[in-house]
């Protein structure tokens, strides 16, 4: 455990020096504030407090931003060590590859958690400022923060795996961007296209819930929207969230990080320094 912590402290320090902490936090705060300002119009008639509405908008933001930040922080994790030539020495130390990855994960999760807390927190402050009743939505804000960390863990794990597979930072960066486009953008577009052509048939009722659970980003969206019962405020693909039991999206949120990290460790074990 102390080796994991030592690695985490070292990685956190490197991330601070590389400005990752300030970039991640700055991006989250900026986007959250823009959303909080833009999303202040449609309250009142929805019948929920203002913070819950903000959380629904933040969910849509987090679906894009958290995976992106996670992949940007993680693509260099193994490939960077290979390129700098620091990996052989590290692997002669009495520390296992699992411990190395867990240390990096811990540091990167701390940064994501910090960025999410400060970003969402800023939006929450704005919401509570203009509507004191919004304080009732703190529960959904807290849920959004920890589920963002879980979503981040999934994409951090995936980023480490790609980093280990590519072995070069440039290749790993390309793979990371491809993964982000596929999992976060194209996947939803494909689902939307299928829903439109299906016209409410078997796909929409049977396969769509499974397809949403199979993608960690969609599972995150579904989980937060259905937990906050803010489906109406979100609309779009989130509208399907109502048909998926909460425990299923929660399970998907929990299982994905484990699977991604297992994949990363397996890929890292294949790297010969």
């Amino acid at each position: 455990m102390s080796r994991i912590l030592a690695t985490a402290v070292c990685e956190f320090r490197i991330a601070c020096r590389n400005r990752w902490v300030s970039i991640a936090t700055g991006m989250m705060v900026l986007f959250a504030l823009v959303l909080a300002a833009a999303g202040s119009a449609p309250t009142g008639d929805v019948g929920v407090d203002r913070l819950s509405v903000t959380v629904a908008s933040l969910t849509s933001l987090a679906v894009y931003l958290v995976p992106l930040l996670a992949l940007l922080m993680s693509f260099d994790a193994v490939a960077g060590e290979v390129e700098r030539g620091t990996l052989p020495l590290l692997l002669t130390y009495p520390v296992s590859r699992l411990q190395v990855l867990l240390g990096k994960l811990l540091a990167h999760l701390a940064i994501l958690g910090l960025a999410a807390t400060l970003g969402y927190g800023a939006a929450a402050v704005v919401a509570v400022w203009s509507d004191p009743g919004a304080i009732g939505g703190l529960g959904s804000l807290w849920r959004l923060i920890w589920s963002s960390v879980l979503l981040g863990a999934t994409f951090l794990g995936a980023g480490y795996a790609l980093s280990a597979l590519a072995r070069r930072p440039s290749g790993a960066a390309g793979l990371a961007i491809a993964l982000w486009l596929l999992a976060v953008v194209l996947y939803d577009l494909a689902l939307l296209a299928l829903i439109v052509t299906d016209g409410g048939g078997a796909f929409t009722t049977q396969a769509l819930p499974m397809a949403l659970l199979a993608n960690p980003a969609d599972a995150f969206r579904v989980f937060n929207l259905s937990a906050a019962q803010a489906v109406a405020a979100a609309g779009g693909i989130g509208g399907a969230a109502g048909t998926i039991p909460l425990w299923q999206s929660a399970a998907s949120l929990l299982i994905w990080p484990l699977a991604a990290i297992a994949l990363a460790v397996a890929a890292f074990r294949k790297v010969t320094p």
Binding site: S2, R3, A6, C10, G85, T86, P88, P94, P273
Partner: protein, 299 residues
């Protein structure tokens, strides 16, 4: 005494290339062995196998009695890679604190380690600003963590100036005296001759020679050179006395003989008395000996 490192009939292929061919060696505690060879001779491959970084095809390797790369082996082995590299964003002190923590040692020893390699003044600067020699010193400092039973050093003195080299070998002597076995590689025989107990020459993946420097010198049986200066007016007489010699343009007569013929030849020269004013006996150089072994198979 149980050897710290035992390698027997070690073989390693990279695709069709035979990187190591049935290499065997043992290294006892406190012994210093130098691994010499050209680029691609198999030095780094052998070191990486000893460290457990890459697997081997056949043969046995035991490090402190356990398999290389196992947690027990890694806890007792320290390594200095050929070009020691570190994260440029960390300072020397932070990097060493991290390595200390990974070895389960107190991170507060970082400054003491840095002072042992003469880096106190740069401890709080980022490694990105260090010169190659300074990075090499950080690399050396991290090998001193704990009490490693085996040190594996890949070209440890590359990038170090002559004074730092001497300090470095002094550090090694101290470690060896405490019982640490040391395996280091080098291109330069002159550098390791006085500082190691045993020399191993690898060529094309084969261990072509092994022993102390006098052993290797005797086995190579390279000719000894004599350089004789004749007294003024005696050049012709000298040349007549040694028809096998070669008269150089510098006025010196060069003679070559095998080791056993050395003293008889010396006696013949001495017999000339006043005709000779000066004499140098030049043993085969270390580079000659190294070339003799490492090129034996027609490389």
């Amino acid at each position: 005494m149980t050897p710290t490192l035992t390698i027997s009939r070690l073989t390693k292929h990279f695709q069709s290339v035979e990187a190591l061919k049935s290499v065997s060696l043992t290294l006892e505690p406190g012994r210093r062995a130098a691994l010499l060879g050209h680029n691609g001779a198999g030095k780094s491959t052998m070191m990486k196998i000893v460290l457990g970084l890459i697997p081997h095809d056949s043969g046995e390797v035991a490090v402190c009695g356990v398999a290389p790369g196992s947690p027990a082996a890694r806890a007792q082995v320290a390594y200095l890679p050929e070009n020691a590299a570190f994260h440029p964003a960390l300072t020397g002190e932070e990097q060493l604190r991290h390595y200390l923590a990974l070895r389960g040692e107190n991170p507060r020893q970082a400054m003491e380690l840095l002072s042992r390699v003469g880096l106190t003044h740069a401890a709080r600067r980022r490694i990105g600003t260090y010169s190659k020699g300074m990075r090499q010193r950080v690399g050396l400092a991290q090998t001193l963590i704990g009490r490693p039973r085996l040190l594996v050093l890949d070209e440890p003195t590359s990038g170090l100036d002559p004074v730092s080299r001497r300090d470095f070998y002094d550090l090694l002597d101290g470690l060896a005296a405490e019982g640490t076995a040391i395996l280091l590689s080098s291109h330069v025989l002159t550098e390791v001759e006085a500082r190691t107990d045993r020399i191993l020459i690898l060529s094309g993946g084969e261990l072509v020679a092994e022993g102390t420097l006098p052993d290797l010198r005797a086995r190579a049986a390279l000719p000894v050179a004599f350089s004789v200066r004749a007294a003024p007016g005696h050049s012709a007489a000298l040349a007549a006395a040694f028809p096998e010699g070669a008269q150089g343009e510098d006025g010196l007569l060069r003679l070559y003989c095998s080791q056993p013929e050395k003293l008889p030849l010396l006696a013949r020269i001495a017999a000339l008395g006043n005709a000779v004013v000066d004499l140098d006996v030049i043993p085969p150089s270390l580079e000659d000996i190294y070339s003799h072994f490492s090129r034996r198979d027609g490389q």
